[in-house]
Symmetry: C2
């Protein structure tokens, strides 16, 4: 039975090609997961960065439920190889009564309050990526994790 | 005057959305760089992985010139933050009479002979990415590097 997996992303993706890549990987995940994707309105761009990040993180927090395992992307988070991530993901997915919930902030990242609530902070790379790209890499890595766990020929 | 930068990629990108993302970043780089992009034919998929990788790497090597600073993406390569990469890129770009040449292998990576000829092996992340995604991340990081060096507001 497909497991539930939840994503909380900040801001609608504007560029068509990013939307298409996101859709492509969501479709690839769909045989294994019931995906719940929540798009949070991004903070007003007239605000200072600090206020914008705080508001966006508050909005994310309102969508987090008590049974969510909250995994936030953060540049100070822990890095994994794809194989290590596959193991970690399995652990999260198989936690009884729990739902893995991945949150990706907006262009300026996430606020300390959200980091404190997180069960896990993870980083995709020491490099900084656009948040649209971070979303896509995350989806691809979840797909790759399933392929690794299934010993499928994708994971080269 | 725009500096020359060279890319050697293995295989045509098949999916339209990846092509579009690649085109988007190439356009963003065009004010600063004269881009030379060489697409190498990928090795026959009926070959064993070892042969395929060797053939692809030989084809890459044939396109490398003596004045190229050859930077190959490789999972065992050095990782940088975007800021560190910006500094490194500046050094490469400003080497007199030299051209930075970035090579990205096919799905199975690159052969030892190519690694040995490389001036630098770099890795984008401890995670493994599809090679189309690696190309795009590389282009985006070069664009980001220029923004960082110009103190432009992009690099959040």
């Amino acid at each position: 039975m497909p497991k539930k997996i939840k994503f909380i992303f900040v801001g609608k993706i504007k560029k068509r090609f990013w939307k298409e890549v996101e859709g492509f990987y969501e479709k690839r995940l769909s045989p294994w997961f019931v995906i719940q994707k929540i798009i949070i309105k991004d903070g007003d761009s007239s605000l200072c960065i600090e206020d914008r990040v705080r508001i966006e993180s508050d909005r994310i927090l309102k969508k987090v439920q008590s049974n969510d395992i909250l995994i936030c992307l953060d540049e100070m988070g822990k890095m994994f190889s794809s194989g290590q991530f596959a193991k970690k993901l399995t652990k999260w997915i198989e936690s009884p009564g729990k739902v893995p919930c991945f949150a990706v902030g907006g262009p300026y990242g996430i606020h300390d309050t959200l980091k404190k609530r997180s069960d896990f902070l993870m980083s995709l790379s020491p490099m900084t990526f656009p948040h649209e790209m971070a979303r896509i890499i995350l989806l691809e890595q979840i797909y790759r994790a399933k392929q690794i766990l299934n010993n499928a020929p994708y994971h080269h």
